[in-house]
């Protein structure tokens, strides 16, 4: 089993797509933080205009954030399609190559039909294709093209979900849209890492990484859980459910009875149209706080273990240190989000750093779970 030969330009291009996706997540976070998700009431058009022809003079208020997000999303979609095509073309030949490329071109071309039934059909098809791509990759981990297929399907699904969130007015779609964005970023990063000779060499370094597999996985799953909680809180559009930190309404654990929640709402003076908070919002918020402490503990623990087990200079040890630093920044951003009454820029940075934390967790998991395989694939020994 051998990994395909590396291509410096492919790796660079993949990192470019990763960077563009990270910017897109930042812009998406800004849209939610500014409460501008529905500032453009139609989709795929923008106030009746074609997306690309909407006059700049109308990019005002919430429209600016939502429209920029849509345009950037179109760019990421295009970049991903090129990446998927590139990966497919370099790993296949003859009829397979043209069939695969033809199918990808058809999927992208169908998006241009701009009809709701076509969008819904594409989204319905995209989810199983994502699963199929990941399954094929798991069976044949040298085939990065399958990750490309999964990424293209995911970006189509993501785009249509974003559109349906606008036309169907369903908050639940927003939560899934947010989580899929984070997972998509992780998927692209895996492609970038595996396509890079330097990363492959680094991650395949000997060391007792096997013993770190489970702790890294647990910490990464905990981070994903935190992101899920965060996305749920954001898409309930209730604003800041607990306005003080480290205490909560002046107590270690806030009161949740009806009278207390009524008083919380009485005292909230929101500038934006936030829903009144409920006991569920308060519990979600407090669970997110507790989850933050658990994540700090878990990442601190894996960092300590990696220091004990891996030699200085081992890339996994280095990544663990960066990871812990990032989690520290994320914790601080969470606190500042509360202290600034959920200032849009701070809350958005909190989303973006959360995405980075998941990304590093994913890369470290890839390294610890697949180091043996990566070494073998590179022609090295099997003992790691």
């Amino acid at each position: 089993m051998e990994l395909p030969p590396t291509n410096r330009w492919l790796t660079r291009y993949t990192w470019l797509v990763v960077a563009a996706t990270f910017v897109l997540i930042w812009l998406g976070g800004l849209v939610t933080s500014r409460g501008a998700g529905l500032a453009v009431p139609d989709w795929p058009n923008t106030y009746g205009y074609n997306l690309f022809l909407f006059p700049i003079s109308h990019w005002v208020g919430g429209i600016f954030y939502e429209h920029t997000h849509r345009l950037w999303a179109a760019l990421v979609g295009l970049l991903t399609a090129v990446l998927a095509g590139w990966l497919w073309a370099r790993e296949t030949g003859g009829r397979d190559r043209w069939l695969g490329l033809g199918a990808m071109a058809l999927a992208v071309g169908l998006l241009g039909v701009r009809a709701m039934p076509v969008y819904v059909a594409l989204a319905g098809l995209a989810l199983p294709v994502v699963g199929w791509g990941l399954w094929r990759f798991a069976k044949q981990p040298t085939g990065l093209r399958w990750l490309g297929v999964a990424a293209l399907a995911a970006v189509i699904l993501q785009g249509v979900l974003g559109g349906l969130r606008v036309t169907w007015l369903k908050d639940e779609l927003g939560v899934f849209h947010g989580l899929l964005a984070q997972s998509f970023l992780l998927l692209l990063t895996v492609v970038a890492v595996l396509s890079s000779a330097r990363w492959r060499r680094g991650l395949a370094q000997p060391g007792e990484v096997r013993a770190l597999r489970l702790p890294f996985l647990v910490a990464t799953v905990l981070i994903f859980g935190q992101l899920t909680l965060g996305a749920t809180m954001r898409h309930r559009h209730a604003g800041l459910a607990v306005p003080d930190f480290p205490l909560a309404y002046g107590r270690v654990w806030p009161r949740l009875d009806e009278e207390a929640v009524r008083r919380y709402n009485q005292q909230r003076i929101e500038v934006v149209a936030a829903h009144p908070i409920t006991a569920t919002d308060v519990v979600l918020h407090m669970t997110h706080r507790l989850g933050a402490c658990v994540v700090v503990g878990a990442v601190g623990w894996v960092w300590t273990r990696s220091r004990r087990r891996l030699a200085a200079g081992h890339p996994v040890r280095g990544l663990a240190a960066v990871w812990l630093g990032l989690i520290g920044v994320q914790f601080a951003l969470g606190a500042v989000t509360v202290w600034t009454n959920k200032a849009a820029d701070i809350a958005t940075a909190h989303v973006a750093v959360g995405a980075l934390a998941l990304l590093i967790g994913g890369v470290v998991c890839l390294a610890t779970w697949n180091a043996v395989w990566i070494r073998r694939a590179m022609g090295g020994g099997a003992t790691v």
């Binding site: 409460g35 501008a36 009431p41 005002v60 208020g61 007015l169 005292q267 929101e270 934006v272």
Partner: protein, 234 residues
Amino acid sequence: MKRYGTWIGWCAVLATLPTLAAAEISGKITLKGTPPPERKVVFDALCGKLHTKDAFTRHYVVGPDSGLANVFVYLKEGPPGKTYPVPEKMPVLDQVNCFYEPYVMGVLVDQKFQIKNSDPLMHNVHATPKVEGNKEFNIGQPVQGMVTEKSFPKPEVLVRFKCDVHPWMFAYVGVMPHHYFAVTDKEGKFKFPADLPAGKYTVVAYHLKAGELTQEITVAEGDKKELAFTLEAK
């Protein structure tokens, strides 16, 4: 000719009799306690041009003698068997200087009301009802003077309207199955239509922040009741 005049006169008297016999309910809502201070609205560049003075949120609008504005007051259940003609004048939810006007208003079930954009800029109008049967909608009103007519088929207190282009813009519309509702003015005063038949009723005063109070009342024909509610800011 004189005969016709007499007939018309009698008809007019008979037509006004039910009204004369009907009860009239009015009252005042006051706020006890000190509400939290309102927050300054930070406009974007375009909306900022429409304002020469600072503008603030409108959660608690309290008059000098503690009268609380924007309280939606209504009968929990209207008199049985009574029908309500749709008023000729259509209520208007206007967008003026990047605010909704009025902040709270009421309409009858299925009564059409207008949503108007009086601003020289783009707004979107996003209604977020919660009661099943009342449909959420989000429409664009990009042009000044644009008017859209809407109605809701189910009673709901209160349906929130918001503009996502300008997130500080939001307002509320109460949808009632009868016309015994009112929104308190700047002095906290309200008055129901003066054609309420005698009977037992529950009057509800609902404020988005200060909460809800109810009063059971019994009115006889021709009664004029003056109610007083005191909501509390804790």
